[in-house]
């Protein structure tokens, strides 16, 4: 039983790390530029599509990774310069409408280029095996790789934010945007760079998710909803909050899906447990968000605002 518990925690951590990669970019953009970017899920999707396509043409996973990250970066910056720059001074409602439109545009564009059928995203050979971390339960190497990659990205982000000048500007921008503008920092460039970082992270999450999940138009939609829940719980603008909240959500989700049904069937009839448990399990994440909003609306680790 303890082994099952530990294994589900590992599953939850892996899902949480993938969520973190998407949520990190989203929270930075929301915190620094005060832009609600519904189109963030699109960058995740583009990363997956580019990587899958490149691998199908060249056969090399690493080439796929590099081209996908660069490609997503280019698309992200292109959309930022063309569309998002005009949105920074608008209300949140305008931003939601505009970025929602961008999402629909890219979902259709991807369908036009690659067709409506999901495309095949091959898993790299050197990562497709199993490791018995828990004796008797093989755990896919690829998922461990996702955990490792995600944590490395998180660590890199931490180093950049805490120890570099760019990071200092980002933290200052999250605290008091007007002040750094007044101090003569090139805001436009800073915003583009921050957006680029977020886009690259999302693209990376997408290309890692491709071999596991389906690469199809609209694949970013559900991930985006979860990412929004993550940043609400973690606190907008806080990387630490995003990491903690994504891991929390990943674990709650994994636990709920595996343990709620047997738990419920001890106190209610089996048929009720069979149908109610999956429904309740899928609600747990949103219940958590609701609780956080009630008791600590600024999030669990909000950036300090002076």
């Amino acid at each position: 039983m303890a082994l099952l518990f530990f294994e589900q925690i590992l599953n939850g951590v892996q899902f949480g790390v993938m969520l973190f990669l998407i949520a990190a970019g989203l929270t930075l953009v929301f915190g620094i530029m005060n832009l609600i970017n519904i189109a963030h899920g699109v960058l995740y999707m583009i990363g997956a599509y580019i990587c899958a396509s490149v691998i199908q043409v060249t056969g090399s996973f690493w080439q796929g990774v590099v081209v996908a990250i660069l490609g997503t970066l280019v698309v992200g910056i292109f959309v930022e310069v063309l569309v998002f720059r005009r949105l920074y001074h608008r209300t949140h409602l305008d931003q939601v409408l505009a970025t929602f439109g961008v999402t629909m545009f890219f979902n259709e564009l991807v369908r036009m280029i690659w067709g409506p059928t999901a495309i095949y995203a091959p898993m790299p050979e050197f990562l497709s095996g199993f490791v018995e971390i828990i004796p008797g339960s093989p755990f896919p190497v690829y998922r461990l790789a996702i955990i490792a990659a995600g944590l490395c990205a998180g660590a890199a982000l931490y180093v950049v934010i805490t120890y570099t000048r760019l990071g200092m500007l980002i933290r200052a921008g999250a605290s008091n945007r007007a002040m750094i503008d007044a101090l003569g920092v090139n805001i436009k460039l800073l915003y583009t760079v921050v957006f680029g970082i977020g886009a690259a992270l999302a693209g990376f999450a997408g290309l890692m998710a491709g071999p596991l999940l389906t690469v199809e138009s609209g694949m970013g939609n559900d991930m985006l909803i979860l990412a929004l829940v993550v940043i609400t719980i973690g606190g907008v603008g806080s990387i630490r909050g995003a990491l903690f909240a994504s891991l929390l959500i990943g674990i709650i989700d994994a636990m709920g899906r595996s343990f709620l049904r047997p738990l419920l069937s001890t106190i209610t009839p089996q048929t009720f447990a069979d149908t109610a448990a999956p429904a309740i399990a899928s609600m747990l994440i949103y219940l958590t968000m609701a609780l956080v909003l009630i008791f600590r609306p600024q999030g669990l680790f909000p950036p300090v605002v002076r």
């Binding site: 599953n11 059928t117 999901a118 495309i119 095949y120 091959p122 896919p140 596991l212 429904a279």
Partner: protein, 391 residues
Amino acid sequence: MKRLIKSGALALFLSTSLAGVAPAQEPVKIGLVSTMSGPGGVMGRHHKDGAELALEQLGGKLGGVPAEIIVGDDQQKPDIGRQVVEGMLKRDKVKFVTGVVFSNVLLAIVDPIVSAGSILVSASGGPSEIAGAKCMRQFFSTSWQNDQAPEAMGEYMTSQGIKSVAILAPNMVAGKDMLTGFKRYYKGKVAAEIYTNFTQADYQSEMTQIRMAKPDAVFVFYPGGLGIQFVKQYAQSGLQKQIPLYSVYTQNETTIGAIGGAVAGNYEAGFWSAGLMNPVNAAFVEAFRKKYGYLPSEYAAASYDAIRLIDSGMRATGGNVDNNDALIAAMEKAEFDSVRGKFKFNTNHFPVQDYYLFRLEKNDKGEYYRKQEKLILAQHGDSYAKSCQMK
């Protein structure tokens, strides 16, 4: 210059609209409402392509009357589907509605169609709710009743002596029907019955639960993108080598391309596959592949048959669509050559058809496909027809 262009445009407009006023035979309109966008969009595309191929082969006419297919997108949402259908009934006055991938959308649209005196020919969704006591004269299905294929699989797995099975499906109308149908015919032990969230992409947690339940086999229903994800992850988790995977509507021509090698050696039960060996089907698959460049799935095949069913009914009434009794009686005879072989309707207007076991293998071109292994149930009806009181 501007005046010249304006008057030229006006003249062009008047001439074309006057030409339209000239008396012509009122074409019969068919509304094809299916899921055209989002992850389910590939099935809607198969519906559209199958129906349009059928109409083209019939020379654009059904029963000798020129026909027109109007396509609508239900976006996989029952309320949107209902809106689209109501628009088609009021504005376009469609006599027939076909398509419909998802059973929950179908349940939402069937009432407005019946009230308007039109006929619904489902090319996919087959919920148990309208197969039994609530069966309807104005409903036909050229596809399936949801429980039929899993019943066949349950029958097969029982006959193979498989003692315990873990079964999974998404938590929705069709998912529940599928697992209910399976349990009706499978006589062994259900080691675990798991319903997953419809938007869930990551099944690692369920893989762990399967492993804990230690079944002899796994049976799933995961249509479209869900199937791609589940089958891939099942292979990646290492379970595929120890516990064989059986499915319905999961590993078919809409998903095999994206799943890749993870399908090898798995099983699927169904009434049709692109490899089904009969002359009508061979001609259909070749014509489809030639026109569209990809292999049709059972969604395309059922949609193709739906148009041909409508044609057979209208041929018998001489192109007259106003007398529903005569039209429905003609359609019930199902006098057309179906791509699946022998075809007839049950009392509830659902098909009675053969069900086969397919194995996922590579053909000589190196592509994966569903190889026809054996016939499981011949001329299998559905379990709800006996409660249907239709005449």
